[in-house]
């Protein structure tokens, strides 16, 4: 499998309290990769590192075959980027912003930009500084899509947008991805939104990537098990145990990953009885993954 983004052993430090530590990450070509994590987990910093905006302390980053940061300008010519906050010049109008942006991209599609402008109901003469949050979000998405990117990097693109605008923006994104087979890295803490559009998931927490897997594995592989007669020490399980909690009576709740239905046979061999297998939605899976990573981090510390 080839990758649009390859990060190996990336480290970066910002101030005394925050650091990206030994980050290794793969974004497969043609995937919609959901980059999940709580606020302050390092998603935006990682994105800025992979776009060459920040210099890493250690590690290597390759984006669309270009080494970053030395080849960042070559990679950026093939990337559509939507940052988390409005970054455009406030004194320009929508039309001026589109002209300015277009002048930097040989791949700029003027007809597509105009189509999106109409679809997003943006007027040429509107000043960027006076756009509503929704309009600003739509303009940034327009600029990102009109450069006909092979890779879209979207940092909380729908954060703070109302449901109607969010639907418009996501619809435009999905339409583009389906017709151009582009790769998308979409960072968000809105887990349900990611569930609808992503086929890969990476979970970031406290500067570390704590999970990276296909969406179906993440969604289907993490389960809550209700168990009676659980052993004090559960070793050689065919699944990974993310968490153990006391349940009612002598029962325990286990949150496990890499679960498959045929693993029920592991319980029938001993005195441990499996009472129930509960499916978790993406948000619960995300929370349990974070909890397990923090517990493991706490124990290691």
């Amino acid at each position: 499998m080839s990758h649009a983004i390859t990060i190996d052993g990336l480290s970066y430090r910002a101030g005394r309290h925050f650091a990206i530590r030994d980050l290794t990450m793969r974004v497969p070509n043609g995937s919609v990769y959901g980059f999940l994590g709580p606020n302050g987990s390092g998603k935006t910093t990682t994105i800025r590192l992979l776009l060459g905006m920040l210099p890493p302390v250690d590690g290597t980053v390759t984006v669309l075959g270009h080494e970053i940061p030395s080849g960042a300008h070559l990679a950026l010519a093939r990337i559509g980027y939507v940052p988390e906050r409005l970054h455009l010049y406030p004194m320009l109008t929508v039309a001026e912003t589109m002209r300015y942006h277009a002048s930097f991209y040989t791949r700029w599609d003027a007809a597509e930009a105009e189509r999106l402008r109409r679809a997003f109901d943006l007027r040429d003469e509107q000043r960027v500084g006076r756009l509503s949050k929704g309009e600003a979000g739509k303009l940034m998405m327009l600029l990102a899509l009109a450069v006909r990117p092979e890779l879209l990097v979207l940092d909380e693109p729908t954060d703070g947008l109302d449901p109607v605008v969010r639907r418009d923006v996501l619809a435009a994104l999905l339409e583009y991805v389906s017709t151009h087979n582009a790769t998308v890295l979409i960072s968000s803490h809105l887990v349900h939104e990611q569930e609808r559009v992503c086929d890969w998931i990476g979970v970031m927490d406290r500067g570390r990537l704590v999970a990276e897997m296909p969406m179906h594995a993440f969604r289907g592989g993490i389960k809550r098990l209700r168990i009676a007669g659980a052993p004090a020490l559960a070793t050689s399980t065919p699944f990974g145990i993310l968490a153990r909690r006391a349940g009612p009576g002598r029962e325990e709740e286990w949150v496990v990953r890499d679960w498959r239905d045929d693993m029920t046979s592991w319980f029938s061999a001993g005195e441990t009885a499996l009472r129930e297998v509960v499916d978790l939605d993406l948000e619960e899976s995300f929370v349990e993954t974070l909890r397990a990573a923090r517990d493991a981090g706490g124990r290691a510390a």
Partner: protein, 218 residues
């Protein structure tokens, strides 16, 4: 790319540019018109003195124009953390060259205003044969001075805030340390003075700011 960047910079700076162009054009005329009734017709010394006042005033205007345009023009990038500028597909060197080029064109406008104003002002007085007006060289010097001021602010605005503070702190500490050294160790005074002279006289890096600014001279 260049034309669009120039347009953006122009739109962001046009009010300040208009202000500096008006002031730069008017300053030589106002100073000479104010001084003329008090001058002896053949007083070369007084004419040189007034020419020096015009030169010094236009010098200050040029430097202020350079500082303001840089501060104003790059503030918009700084406010957004330079995210837009850094996300565009150009090398840092090329981006720098484009910004330097657009700054040169914009700063040429106040310099042009100085030239026109100084030409008209110089035409108002009948110069003795031993004196000449230097409107062209005054405008050129103003352009270089404003560009230098612009470059200094550009460098500070475009580095990270922490690094900018560090650079300024190092400069302040260096000045204080050199002054203290010169006071405590008299033997170092000549060397420090030579270094200072190099910085502020031609062809030193800041020579254009501290050299002789005048409209009328021998």
């Amino acid at each position: 790319m260049f034309a669009q960047t120039l347009y953006v910079q122009w739109k962001w700076n046009r009010d300040f540019l208009a202000f500096y162009m008006i002031v730069a054009f008017a300053a030589p005329l106002v100073i000479l018109w104010a001084a003329l009734p008090h001058l002896g017709l053949t007083s070369g010394r007084e004419l040189v003195s007034v020419g020096g006042a015009v030169g010094a005033t236009t010098g200050v205007i040029a430097v202020l124009a350079g500082l303001t345009i840089a501060w104003q023009g790059y503030g918009v990038d700084e406010r957004a953390g330079h995210v837009y500028a850094l996300s565009l597909p150009v090398t840092r060197g090329r981006a720098l060259a484009i910004r330097a080029g657009t700054a040169t064109i914009m700063l040429a406008l106040p310099a042009l205003a100085i030239w026109v104003g100084a030409m008209i002002a110089a035409g108002q007085v009948e110069l003795p044969p031993s004196l000449h007006s230097y409107a062209g060289s005054l405008a050129t010097k103003a352009l270089l001075a404003s560009w230098l001021a612009h470059a200094c602010v550009f460098a500070l605005r475009y580095c990270a805030r922490r690094r900018a503070r560090s650079v300024l702190a190092v400069l302040v500490v260096a000045v204080i340390a050199l002054s203290a050294t010169a006071m405590v160790v008299p033997g170092t005074r000549a060397g420090i003075a030579r270094a200072g002279d190099f910085l502020i006289s031609n062809p030193g890096p800041f020579g254009v700011l501290f050299g002789r600014w005048t409209l009328i001279d021998v």
